[in-house]
Each structure stands twice: as structure tokens, then as C-alpha cells.
């Protein structure tokens, strides 16, 4: 018997249609859309100098070049261009070179540098209109691009825009190094037919569209959602209180309908009305963005149901308050209070989550029962078994890095800090080696300090040394000592310092012997320069200067038994083996990964007879460590970015953690996922293996657990005592946040849905570079559950209330 309830919904529409508020809202939406409609873009060949800062690399040098080459005629093309310039501009350039302007520090308009660039921009843009810029003689012998030649060949058949483009290409070719080459296209913006030149950009349409799409969910959430929801609540707040006026309520309640069903029908009617209004707005925006700006983004259409759901949450609160208080003002107040509570819980959770995330494990190393952890602030901590706490062995001031990282992490810019190389297990004395760089060195090419610690010294630093400048990773071998690798894959080995110049004949004779020995090969070299636990000393290059483009430090792995280096770069895995002279040379390579992204993130790990490679696009490979033949490959199902990866020394297992906090353990013998131990969970941050093939796993709260994968047992647990803030976060704030609705976080869901499966399944996409959306479905789930609960309470109250 749905007829009565459908009648209620129909009546809601009827009421809305007769309401002035509806027409005001619709009129506003129409006005906004009409105002936006004439704004459109056109992609054309780029010819214009629209960004002086990037178009002209060095204005002063450019001016000097134009004058010198232009007047002397040594370079025909530049001379020809000089002749095309206006006399006023020629004079201005000469003045610029001969009478440099002094920087003005107060008043007087824009600084000289800016004025020069702007003048160049203006004059060169005028020059683009010149029909005589191309001169066959002047440009004879000049190296011109294929596009330039094609345009020249077109001759009189060139269109106007092609003429402009040709002139631009000619100018950039002639003045290479001082004038930037243009992009393929530029994007012009128009309002009706009036061009808004300030907005012209040399981005391509696709790039511009992607930029806009990445920002849309956030702007929709902050503006349209927030303001729109507030207006919608204002419009609908009086529906229930009006229904409860006695003159109409008694009549409704006397009808043969269930009260709770009638209330729900009223609720649905309100939501349906808002759905229609939202559809009008969002479809209008979608059409405008698509037709006029060629940005077809389904995020806008996805916003319609999410907007209605967010409204439904607030409206449920408003309905319950309306039943209880029978006042539109109090209904609105309760809805606002609800927003405030959600915002408070979300903000506190985000702050605590961030602070705990930053100090959670990013990398985990284990040797024996000792573990070292690196967190996202790049702090190294070692577990003090006796005192059951994490010890930070770094002698740097903790605050120094923390302050810098605090601001970086606040703005989610931790990715801008380069990875620190290492850490590594010290194979000689079973401690750890870790890089300990001051903040200012993080962006420099200076050497990074490496320190060693071990439990024997109570985690105090017992050795320090400096890695070569440009090192992106270091590894430690029992036979080779410490190896440092730079970003092109060139390998350096730490050697003892050569003996000082002898003062006695006996000492000199000893030195000559030593030098003679040093020339004879690896055995001799190793004999004279055994690796020690010390870290001081020079590093010598022991490979050719390689030309790898290593995407990240984890793309390098050293096999602990064979000392073979594996490097992933530009779609290839390459193995480097030691030759008879103790230098690394390429032994083999294999193409890996069906992608065209030459900077794809890669994690390489090896052990026993296997090498494992996990790419940022989710592809996984198991290879033979000797000949690099692919033994098994697969794509990881979850399509979430990888966070860390390690292989057991015997090569039997490989473990990886992902951004969603899950752990994946792979059995290389079975060539499938390992199901042995109870390793499920969603807060697992990093993993590592020790030399006995035990798996160590760290969670978000810096607890570390050890598992014997043969038996599946958890053998060791290191659980630091949590402070009140951590306990509060873990047991109060986070559970509350999980249960509570999150009306302000639907942009996550929209972003997730608008990043289509084709993007996530696109093997060219590096998932680690995509913005991470933590649990995008959480706002939807908690929102639906919350709304249902509130509606259930409202129905119960309405059903039981005496009127």
C-alpha cells in the first residue's frame, strides 16, 4: 500500500513548486550558470610569450646577444631578427646592456628584472605578427625542428595562427638557450569573444583538464557542498514543524497510514526536492565545463548523489530536532551543532593521526632480536630490549629536523624531502648503519654522515663517516663493506685511507710495496684493505659512471650472499656483478613492467635464488637472481600504492606493506600469497626480515612483532608503553571518528571515484605518486549508517509520541 506515501512525496514536490524559495534557488542557479556559460577555452598552437618568467631565461644575456650578434652579423638568423626589431626597442636593449638599472628598494614600480622581461614579452609578441621574420638565407643551415620545416614548406597556405607559430619557433630556435621553446599548444580563455589574455597558459588542454579535475573535488566540497548544504537545510527546516501543527497533524494521523512511514515519506520528499535542485546545478556545471572548457569530469556528476547524501545526514538531524522541539530555528541549530561536532572530531583525529603517522615506521630492519625503524620524519630508532623503549641514537638535535618536517608534513609536503639512504644492517658486527644528515644537507649534494650503532654499545653511536656526495643509497656487505650508490647507479666502495707518506726509508719501502700491491687486483686490494666496522675513509668508484635513472633509493638491492647489485631503472632490471678487478660491471638486464613511465617507482629485494621487484603500478615480478629470467609475475589485486618491501635472505618469502595498512606476504616456492600466519590488520606500516628469515612487522603505534613463517607463530612482540595521547587517540578518538559520520570528507570519495578504474588500472600510472585517499568509502558507510540510525530514532519517537 504505497499510494499514501507516494502521495506524501508528491505533495512535498507540490509544496516546493509553490514555494517562493524554490524559485529563488532555481533562479540563482540559473543566473550562475548563465554567467558562467560564455566563458570558454580554445586550444591553439602556442606562439605567444605569455609567461615572461619562464619564456626568457636570462634577459641580460639575451639582450647582449641580440646586440652583439645582431650588429656584427656573425649569426645571420640573429642579425635578421635584430633588423626586424623596432628602433625604439633596439635602443632600449642597448641601454639595458650599457646602463644596467640599479635595484630599487622602495617605491618606483616593479623591479628592473620584471620590467625587462615584460618589455621583451611585449616586443617579441609584436614581432610575432611580422610576416618577414622567416628569411631563407638568414635561417639557412640553422637546425630547425620538424614542425618548423613543415610550416615553412606550407608557404602561402599557412593560416594566421600557423604564421604566428612559425615565427615563435624561429625566434626560439635562433635564440636557443635564452628563449624557451614553446609548448605544442597554448590555452586561451574567452568570455564571449573577448579574450582574457591574463589567463592564457601554455598548458595543453589535457594538462589543464587534469589540473582542474584534481582540484575540483576539494573546491566542490569547500564551497558548493558547504554553502549549498546550509541553504538546503534552511529551506527544509520548517517542513516537519509545519506538519506537526495540530490543525494539520491530527488530520494526517487520523489517516490509515503508519506514522513512521509517513515521516519517512516526508523525509524522502525533502531529499528528492534537494536532489532535483542539485542535479540542475551540477549537470549545468558539468555541461559548461565539458562543452566550453572541454573538461569532462564525472566527479561533478558523482557529486550529485554525494551531495544529497550529505544533505540527508543533516536533514535527518533536522527532522529529529523538528519532531522534538517543533521549531525550525532549533532544527537549524541542531544541524549546525552536528556539523560542529563532526568537524571537531575529524580535526582532532586528523591532527593526532598525522602526528602518529609521522612517527610510525617507514622502514624496518632486523638483525638477531634487534630492530631499527625509520619513521616518516626520517628519524631512526632502535629498540632497547632491556628498557622496552625506542631509542633515538641520532646525535642531531631532534627539534631541528622535526620543525622543518612539522611544517612540511602539515602541508603534506613530506615527499619534497629526499629519501635518506639506508639504513642497513652492519654485516660485520650486527648493528645498524644509518644516514644522519642535517636538514640543510638534505637538499644539497654534500656528503651525508653515516653512523653505526649496536646493542653492545647500548645504542650509542660508535662510528661515523661520510658518504660521497650524491649518494642515494648505501648497502653493507660482509665481504665488500659499505657501498654507496649515486642516482645514476655509479657504485663507490669505502676504502681505508691510504697510509701517510713515509718518513723513513723503511716506511717508504713499505709504502712502495703497498702501492705495487694495490695495482694488482681484487684479492690484493681486499688483502690490503679489509672492510672494517669503521666508517671513516674515502670512497673509490668501483664501477663505470653508469647512466641509470634510478627513481628511488629502494630500487637498489644488494644480494647478501653473492654481492650482486640489482638496479631498476627506466623499465629495466639490471644486475651488476664484480669482475676480476673488483669493479662492478653489467652482467645482464631484463625489461620489466608494461609501462612507459621512465620514473616508475620500484622496490627491489633479493634473497636466495630470487630477486623480487614490485613496481609503483602494482606489478610484481619474481626473477631468477642469476640470469634474471622471470619466474612469476602478477598484478596485485588491491591497486593500492606500495609502501615497503623486503625479501627473506633465503628467498623463500617476500613481504610488502601497502598504503592502506595491509601486509602482503608472498611464498616464492608456491608462487602465491602466503596464508600461514595470522597477519591481517590495517595498521601495518613496514616489514623486514632478519638473517634467520623471521618476518618483522611494525604497526602504526610503533609496536613490532616477529613471526616465524614456517610455523606461523608470533615469537616476539615489542610494544612500547603508550603515552596518554596515543592511548586517547587509539582507544577514544579513532573509534569515535570511525563511527561518526564524516560529512566534510566526501571529497575523498568523489576523488576516488573520479580517478577512474582505467586510471588505476593504467600501468603507466605510478600509484605511489597518486594522492593517497585513505579509506574513501568510510564517509559513505558511516554516513549511511548514521542517517539510518537517526531516522530510526526519529521514526520511533514519532511513532510513540502523544500529540
Amino acid at each position: 500500500m504505497l499510494r499514501p506515501y507516494l502521495a506524501v512525496i508528491q505533495d512535498s514536490f507540490r509544496a516546493a513548486l509553490s514555494s517562493r524559495v524554490l524559485y529563488i534557488v532555481l533562479a540563482l542557479i540559473a543566473v550562475i550558470l548563465l554567467a558562467l556559460a560564455p566563458f570558454h577555452s580554445r586550444e591553439t598552437l602556442e606562439w605567444k610569450f605569455s609567461n615572461p618568467q619562464t619564456d626568457f631565461l636570462t634577459p641580460d644575456r639575451l639582450a647582449k646577444r641580440l646586440i652583439d650578434d645582431g650588429k656584427s652579423g656573425d649569426r645571420a638568423a640573429i642579425a635578421h631578427i635584430w633588423d626586424q626589431l623596432s628602433p625604439e626597442f633596439q635602443e632600449a636593449l642597448e641601454k639595458q646592456v650599457n646602463e644596467p638599472e640599479v635595484s630599487e628598494t622602495r617605491g618606483g614600480g616593479p623591479p628592473p628584472e620584471f620590467r625587462k622581461r615584460r618589455r621583451l614579452s611585449k616586443e617579441f609578441n609584436a614581432l610575432m605578427e611580422n610576416t618577414n621574420l622567416y628569411d631563407e638565407q638568414a635561417f639557412k643551415g640553422k637546425r630547425l625542428s620538424k614542425e618548423t620545416r613543415e610550416l615553412i614548406d606550407k608557404g602561402e597556405q599557412r593560416s594566421n595562427i600557423e604564421n604566428l607559430r612559425l615565427n615563435r619557433l624561429l625566434l626560439s630556435s635562433a635564440l636557443r638557450r635564452d628563449v624557451a621553446m614553446p609548448s605544442d599548444t597554448q590555452l586561451d580563455f574567452y568570455y564571449f569573444n573577448w579574450q582574457w589574455t591574463a589567463l592564457t597558459t601554455n598548458q595543453s588542454q589535457t594538462s589543464f583538464a587534469n589540473d582542474v579535475k584534481s582540484q575540483l573535488p576539494t573546491y566542490f566540497d569547500k564551497f558548493i557542498m558547504s554553502i549549498g548544504i546550509f541553504i538546503a537545510i534552511l529551506i527544509t527546516a520548517s517542513i516537519i514543524p509545519e506538519m506537526l501543527e495540530s490543525g494539520s497533524l491530527n488530520l494526517f494521523l487520523s489517516k490509515p497510514v503508519n506514522r513512521w512511514a509517513m515521516l519517512l515519506a516526508k523525509y524522502v520528499g525533502g531529499c528528492a526536492f534537494i536532489f532535483l535542485s542539485a542535479s540542475l546545478l551540477f549537470v549545468g556545471l558539468w555541461l559548461w565545463l565539458g562543452v566550453q572548457l572541454n573538461i569532462w569530469d564525472r566527479a561533478i556528476l558523482i557529486s550529485i548523489p554525494t551531495y544529497v547524501l550529505v544533505f540527508a545526514m543533516y536533514y535527518a538531524i533536522s527532522v529529529l530536532a523538528g519532531i522534538w522541539f517543533r521549531s525550525p530555528i532549533l532544527s537549524i541549530t541542531c544541524a549546525l551543532l552536528f556539523w560542529a561536532v563532526c568537524w571537531a572530531i575529524g580535526s582532532v583525529n586528523a591532527w593526532l593521526d598525522y602526528s602518529h603517522y609521522n612517527t610510525s615506521a617507514r622502514q624496518l630492519l632486523a638483525t638477531g632480536d634487534d630492530v631499527m625503524m625509520v619513521d616518516y620524519l626520517q628519524q631512526h630508532s632502535a629498540w632497547d630490549i632491556a628498557n622496552e623503549e625506542w631509542r633515538n641514537p641520532s646525535e642531531r638535535k631532534r627539534n631541528e629536523r622535526e620543525n622543518g618536517f612539522f611544517f612540511a608534513s602539515f602541508f603534506d609536503r613530506l615527499d619534497k624531502f629526499p629519501d635518506m639512504p639506508g639504513p642497513a644492517v652492519n654485516q660485520l658486527d650486527h648493528g645498524f648503519l644509518f644516514a644522519d644528515a642535517a636538514l640543510e644537507k638534505a637538499f644539497s649534494n654534500q656528503g651525508i654522515q653515516v653512523s653505526s650503532v649496536s646493542t653492545e654499545n647500548d645504542w650509542e653511536i660508535d662510528n661515523q663517516g661520510e658518504l660521497p656526495g650524491g649518494t642515494i643509497e648505501f648497502v653493507n656487505s660482509a665481504t665488500l663493506g659499505t657501498l654507496a650508490i649515486n642516482d645514476s647507479g655509479t657504485v663507490f666502495q669505502r676504502l681505508e685511507k691510504e697510509a701517510p707518506a713515509a718518513e723513513t726509508d723503511e716506511a717508504a719501502e713499505t709504502n712502495d710495496d703497498k702501492q705495487a700491491d694495490a695495482k694488482t687486483g681484487i684479492a690484493e686490494r681486499l688483502a690490503g684493505l679489509l672492510p672494517t666496522a669503521a666508517l671513516t675513509g674515502e670512497y673509490k668508484k668501483i664501477s663505470k659512471t653508469n647512466q641509470f635513472e634510478i627513481p628511488n633509493s629502494r630500487a637498489i638491492a644488494l644480494h647478501s650472499k653473492t654481492d650482486v647489485l640489482y638496479i631498476y631503472s627506466d623499465g629495466k632490471l639490471t644486475s651488476l656483478k664484480l669482475d676480476k678487478d673488483g669493479n662492478y660491471e653489467e652482467a645482464g638486464s631484463v625489461d620489466l613492467g608494461d609501462h612507459k613511465n621512465n620514473r616508475m617507482t620500484a622496490f627491489v629485494s633479493c634473497g636466495g635464488p630470487h630477486v623480487f621487484v614490485m613496481l609503483g603500478n602494482g606489478q610484481f615480478f619474481q626473477l631468477d637472481s642469476n640470469d634474471l629470467s622471470v619466474e612469476h609475475s602478477m598484478s596485485i589485486d588491491n591497486r593500492v600504492a606500495i609502501r615497503s618491501m623486503n625479501a627473506s635472505p633465503d628467498g623463500r618469502f617476500m613481504a610488502a606493506t601497502f598504503r592502506d595498512g595491509t601486509l602482503w606476504v608472498y611464498d616464492a616456492e608456491q608462487q602465491k600469497k602466503y596464508d600461514g600466519a595470522s597477519l591481517s590488520g590495517t595498521d601495518l606500516m613496514a616489514c623486514g626480515f632478519d638473517e634467520t628469515n623471521r618476518l618483522w612487522v611494525a604497526d602504526r603505534f610503533k609496536s613490532v612483532y616477529c613471526y616465524d613463517l614456517e610455523t606461523g607463530d608470533n615469537t616476539i612482540a615489542y610494544e612500547p608503553t603508550a603515552d596518554w595521547m596515543t592511548n586517547g587517540f587509539r582507544f577514544l578518538v579513532r573509534p569515535l571518528y570511525r563511527v561518526f559520520p564524516k560529512p566534510g570528507e566526501f571529497y575523498k570519495l568523489i576523488s576516488h571515484l573520479s580517478t577512474s578504474n582505467s586510471t588505476r588500472d593504467n600501468l603507466d600510472v605510478d600509484l605511489t605518486q597518486l594522492p593517497h585517499i585513505d579509506n574513501p568509502w568510510a564517509p559513505l558507510k558511516s554516513g549511511i549508517i548514521f542517517t539510518c540510525c537517526i531516522l530510526a530514532i526519529a521514526c520511533f519517537v514519532f511513532q510513540r509520541m502523544d500529540f
Binding site: 500500500m1 499510494r3 499514501p4 507516494l6 502521495a7 506524501v8 508528491q10 505533495d11 507540490r14 509544496a15 513548486l17 509553490s18 514555494s19 509545519e242 501543527e245 495540530s246 490543525g247 494539520s248 497533524l249 491530527n250 488530520l251 494526517f252 494521523l253 487520523s254 489517516k255 490509515p256 497510514v257 503508519n258 510513540r800 502523544d802 500529540f803
Partner: protein
Amino acid sequence: MNASTETVTHAETLPEPVIQVSKLSKVYKDGLIFRKKFTALNQVSLEVGAGQIFGLLGPNGAGKTTFLKILLGIIRKTSGQATLLGSPAGKVAGRTRVGFLPEHLRMPAHLTGFTALEYFGKLQNLPHSIIREKRDQILESVGLSGRGKDRVTKYSKGMLQRLGLAQALLHDPELLILDEPTDGLDPGARADMRALMKSLRDKGVTVFLNSHLLQEVELVCDQVAILNKGQLRYCGSVDQIGEFVRTKTGVAGISINMEVRGNETATLEALGEPLQGNFEIRRVDALPERVVLSLSFSDQDSVDQAVDRIRQKGISLVRLTPSETTLEDAFLKIVSNEAPISNSL
């Protein structure tokens, strides 16, 4: 069920009462922590038979509206039993055959006459086609012919009442509950309303009327019930309420209005002496050269003796008529009498 075609059976077995209430009580609790109790209905029992007009009377705060709301399920009873057309009061099934016109009816402002009928008709689960078929006739029957397309905001109070009545009748109910139906109506409209109620009764529809206007109730109701402070003080026919009052309040058996020619003093002297103790003078109206007395006698012999005495004194007897107890009189007596009175005849 179409009430217009249903025939009211006068079988030897009486039809089931339309409304049956037994020891119905309602206690309101006010406040959040220290809840104050207020008894709105106290052990009320009555029955309303089919095919009659039943009036519920009572002063303000007597519990009439509470009673109605419990029947219609708008509020819940505290104790007792109540059924509506055989279904427990408050159940949806019982309300399918009930039409209700509430007091102070308020129609949503966006409705017209037609859309109001459509809306409330659909709430009664009537198909759209039926509503369209009947709406003109219904509006005509309540005197709103030709006003169907007008917004209700343009209706007068009386027109709204009629529209309310129209929506109550749209689905041909078996029971029509009217709460102050003539409120705001002019005398002509009230007469129309009374005629309509009677015609509905004649068709077999039971009309349950809640009204302050005793004269209206007296004119249309077959049975009345009087509530006072939550208690049922009377339930029975209008005709017998006078007898009821006299019996219960100890008033003498025969009431007579006697009109004589003469003055008040002589008349009273003539009556006083011979008829001591057997009658009661209730009212004396002294008119020019005439006196009208309202007398109560214990029996017929006393009446005869009084007439003989008047004549013996040479007073001329102009008129001798039995005096009727008005509903208003009875009502006032009943609600002022604090002693509990048992229910219906």
C-alpha cells in the same frame, strides 16, 4: 464499502457497536524528572451503535478531545479497552473506514480544493481515478461547487470547514467523527451541516459529534454522552436526559407549567395552604395580570389537588402544560453535581 447503498439492518441481533470503550483511562505525565500526573480520562465506558448521531459533550478540559484522539490513535491510552469499527483503537485497519474532521482544521497553503481532495483521498488509499470521479459531487454536497480550482488560502473559515468535511466523506466512511464541525459557520451553514448529518445517518453512516453547542447537539443527536473532568457523567438518548437528571438529582416526578390569571401573591396563597409538602415551586414568572408557575409534583393526585385549590380560590387557570428539561439545563446540572452518576440508561 459504500455507505450510501448499505442498508441498516434492524435484526433481532443488534449490529456490533461502532465504538466500544471499556474503562478507558488516560493519564498525562508532564515534566522530565519530577513528572506531574494529570488524569484526562478516568475509567470511561460507553458504546456507540451504528447508524446514529452520537454527541459527546463536556466543558473545557473534560477529556473530549483526548477521547477522540485515543479512538483515532493520535495518542495512546493508559489503560482500558477501546475499539473502532471492530479494530482496536489506534490500529491502522480501524481508520480505513473512518472520516475525521478535526477542530481548527489547517490545510497546507499550496493546495487547491481539488488537490486537497486528491491528497487526502490518496492518504485514504483511494485511486486517483475514483477521486477525480467523485470530487465534483463531493464539493457540491458540501456547498463548494465551482471552487475546486481555488487555492485554500482564498477560502473563508466556513469554506475550509466544508472542505474538511468533503475530504472526510470522500471515501464513503462508515463512521464520521466531527470535532466542532459547526465552528465558524453561519446559521445557514450550520443548518446545512445538521441536514447533512441527518442525511448521512439515514444512509446508515454513524456520526460521532464533538461539540460545545448544546442546542446543535439537541437538534441532531440521537444519543449523547457527557464528560466532566475525565469521568463519564451521562450516556443515553437526548429525550431521556431530563428524566435522568430528575431521577439522579432527586427532583420530583412530574413537572408542570401552570399559567393563571391573577397576581402572584393571591396565587401563591391559594397554592400554599392546601398542598403543603406535595409539590415544589421551582420558578414563578409574574407577567401583567398573569402568573406562570413551574411546579414539580410527586404524583398525579397532587396535580389534581393543586388544580382544585386554584379553582376553589376563584383563580382562573389559563394553561397547564408539562415542562421539558432542556439539554442545557441537564448538562449544567450534571456537570455541577460532583456525585458520581452511573452510566447510560
